[in-house]
C-alpha cells in the first residue's frame, strides 16, 4: 500500500514540516545529459568565446575597422604582417585597414545573421506549424500549401534579385533570410504537432475547456521545443554559410561594414601573393563557429531526445 490512510499522511506531513520538493523537470535532465557530453560542452565554451570576441574584441583593437592607414598600402608584405608591436594583431588587409577590428565586426555580423535567422525560424516557424497541425483539416491544408508554394520558389535567385532591385543592405539580407528560414521549421513543427495533439493530455485540456491558443502555447509548443531547439542550432551555421555565400558574391554586407564571408572573399584574392593572414583569420573564426554550432546541436539532440541516438 502506498498511502494507507489520509490521517496518517497528514500527521506525517505536519510533524516533518516538509518543504516543497523541487521536481526535476525534463529540461533539467536534458541539461545533465548535455553537460556530460564533452565535445558539446567544449564547443559551447568556444561559441561563448567567439561571441565574447565579437562583443568585446573592439575594446582590445588598436584601430577602428574603417581606419585606412595609407602608409601601409602597397607594403602589406612587410609592414602589414600580424604583430603585437604595431597593434595590428591580425595584420592589415590590402587597403591598409586593421584586420583584427574587421574580423571582430565580421564575426559579429555573421553571428547576428545566424541567430536572427534561427530566431525567426523558431518563433514564426514553430507557431505557424503548431497552429496548422493543431487545427488540422482545411486550415492545415491551406497553411501548408502556402509553405509548399514558398518553398518551390528558388530563393537564392529571388534574394539576389531583391538585393539588386532594393539596394544592398543588411536589412534586406535579414529579410531574405527570415523569409526562407521558417519554412522547414514550420513543416517539422507541424509534423510533431500531429503526434502530440492526439495525446491524452491535450484531449484533457480540450475537454476542460482550455482555449486553443493556450493549448498550443502551453501543451503543444513546450513538447515540440526539444526538436525545434536542435533544429535551430543546426540552422544557425546554415544561415551563416548562406550569408557568407551572398557576401562572397558581393551582394551581402556592404563596405565599410563586413562579414566573415566578405572577409574571406577579400582574403582569397590576395592569398596567392602570400598574404595568408588575410584569409586565415576570418576563415579560422568561420570554421570554429560553424563546427561549434554543429557539435552543440548534436549534443542538444542527444540530450533532448535520448531515444533516437
Amino acid at each position: 500500500m502506498m498511502l494507507p490512510n489520509r490521517a496518517a499522511v497528514e500527521g506525517i506531513a505536519e510533524n516533518m514540516q516538509l518543504a516543497d520538493v523541487k521536481g526535476r523537470s525534463l529540461w533539467a535532465d536534458a541539461r545533465t545529459r548535455f553537460l556530460r557530453n564533452r565535445a558539446a560542452v567544449i564547443s559551447l565554451i568556444m561559441l561563448c568565446a567567439v561571441a565574447g570576441f565579437a562583443l568585446f574584441g573592439g575594446l582590445v583593437a588598436q584601430y577602428e575597422g574603417d581606419f585606412v592607414n595609407f602608409s601601409l598600402i602597397g607594403s602589406n608584405a612587410y609592414l602589414g604582417v600580424p604583430s603585437i608591436e604595431t597593434g595590428h594583431y591580425f595584420g592589415t588587409d590590402s587597403n591598409g585597414r586593421d584586420l583584427f577590428a574587421r574580423t571582430v565586426q565580421g564575426t559579429g555580423i555573421s553571428l547576428m545573421v545566424g541567430v536572427v535567422g534561427a530566431l525567426v525560424a523558431v518563433i514564426v516557424g514553430t507557431l505557424y506549424g503548431a497552429t496548422a497541425g493543431y487545427y488540422g483539416g482545411r486550415i492545415d491544408g491551406i497553411m501548408m500549401r502556402i509553405v509548399d508554394v514558398l518553398m518551390s520558389i528558388p530563393f537564392m535567385f529571388v534574394l539576389i534579385l531583391m538585393l539588386v532591385i532594393f539596394g544592398r543592405s543588411i536589412f534586406m539580407l535579414f529579410l531574405g533570410i527570415g523569409l526562407i528560414s521558417w519554412l522547414d521549421m514550420a513543416r517539422i513543427a507541424r509534423g510533431q504537432t500531429l503526434t502530440i495533439k492526439n495525446k491524452e493530455f491535450v484531449e484533457v485540456a480540450v475537454a476542460t475547456g482550455v482555449r486553443p491558443i493556450r493549448i498550443i502555447l502551453r501543451h503543444i509548443v513546450p513538447n515540440l521545443l526539444g526538436i525545434v531547439i536542435v533544429y535551430a542550432t543546426l540552422l544557425v551555421p546554415n544561415m551563416i554559410i548562406f550569408e557568407s555565400f551572398i557576401s562572397f558574391l558581393g551582394l551581402g554586407v556592404q563596405e565599410p561594414a563586413t562579414s566573415l564571408g566578405a572577409l574571406i572573399n577579400e582574403g582569397s584574392r590576395t592569398m596567392q601573393f602570400g598574404y595568408y593572414w588575410q584569409i586565415a583569420f576570418p576563415l579560422f573564426f568561420f570554421v570554429i563557429t560553424i563546427f561549434a554550432f554543429f557539435f552543440v546541436g548534436d549534443g542538444l539532440r542527444d540530450a533532448l531526445d535520448p531515444k533516437d541516438r
Binding site: 500500500m1 502506498m2 516538509l18 502551453r218
Partner: protein, 335 residues
Amino acid sequence: MDALLSVRNLSVTFDVAKPGAWPWTPPRKLHAVSEVSFDLKPGECLGIVGESGSGKSTLARAIVGTIPSSGGNIFFEGADLANMDTRERRVHRRDVQMIFQDPLAALNPRMTVGEIIAEPLITHEPNTPRAEVKKRVGVLMERVGLLPNLINRYPHEFSGGQCQRIGIARALILKPKLIICDEPVSALDVSVQAQVINLLMELQRDMGLSMIFIAHDLSVVKHISDRTLVLYLGRVMELANSRKLTTLPEHPYTQALIASVPIPDPVLERARPRPVLEGELPSPLSPPSGCVFRTRCPKAQASCADARPVLEDIGSDHLVACPFHEAEHVLAVGS
C-alpha cells in the same frame, strides 16, 4: 424526470476513406455508437461495459464533447449541448470532467503536478490569486492521497497509481457534477486498482458526484456502479441494476460476457461451462442487419436478421434488447 444527464438516441459515426479513393468519393461510415439512450441521476454511478471496439470510449468522448456526435441529443441539466454556442459550451465544460486510461499519457510531461492540477481552475477562474490556487491544489492533493509537498514534481517522477491520483485531483478541482472515467484502472496493477477504485467511490459519496465508469472488467463495474449498461458494436444490449445484471442477466451477450470472467477459485472455474462466445466482433463499417449480435449469438433465429430489436423494459428498470431474452443464473462475479 430530473436526470443530470439524458442521452437520447446518440449516434457517432466516423468517415473512413477507402484506401486509394479519390477525395470526392463519398467516404464509408463507421458507426461507432448508434442510438444509445440512457439517463443518469445526480449522485448515481453508471457502469458501461463491453468488449474492445464496442464504442465505450467513443460514447464517453461524445458526452464530454471532444468528438462530435452525428445524431441524437445530449441534455445536461435539461440543456441540449448541441444548442450551446462556444462560450456556453466552455462554461459547461467545468461541470463535466474526465479521467483517462493511461495515467501518464494524460499528464503533460513539461508541466509540474501543481500546474497540471491547477489548470482547470486557472482556465475557468482566471482571477484566483496564486496563493489561493496553491492552497486549493494542496488540499486536493492531500484529499486524493498525495503529499502536498510534491507540488513541484513532474509526472515522470510518479508511479502509475500516483499519476492516476493526480488525474483524479485535476478532475475534481472545479467540483464538477459529472465525472467520466474511461477505464481508469485498466493500466494499473491489481493492488493499486483497488486503492484507486476505493478512492473514487469515497470521493463520489463525499462530493455527491455523478459518475460514468467505463471498464471491460465486469467485477470492477459491479463493485462501483449502481446501474450497468452493456454495449455491443455501439448499441445498448442491456441496462439494469448492477447486482441484477451480474447475477441474473437476460441478454445472451451479457450472459456470455459474464461467463468469460474468470472466477478466482480453480474448482468452480473448472466446473463452469466454457464461454459460448465465438468469433470476432463484426466490422462496424458493415454491421449485421437486424440484431448486431446475431452472428455470434447462441440463441440466434432467422427473425433476428429482419429488424433491429427494441430495447424493452421488462420491469424494475431492466432494459433488454432481445426478444428471446430469458434470465439465466450465472456464477456471480466476485461474490
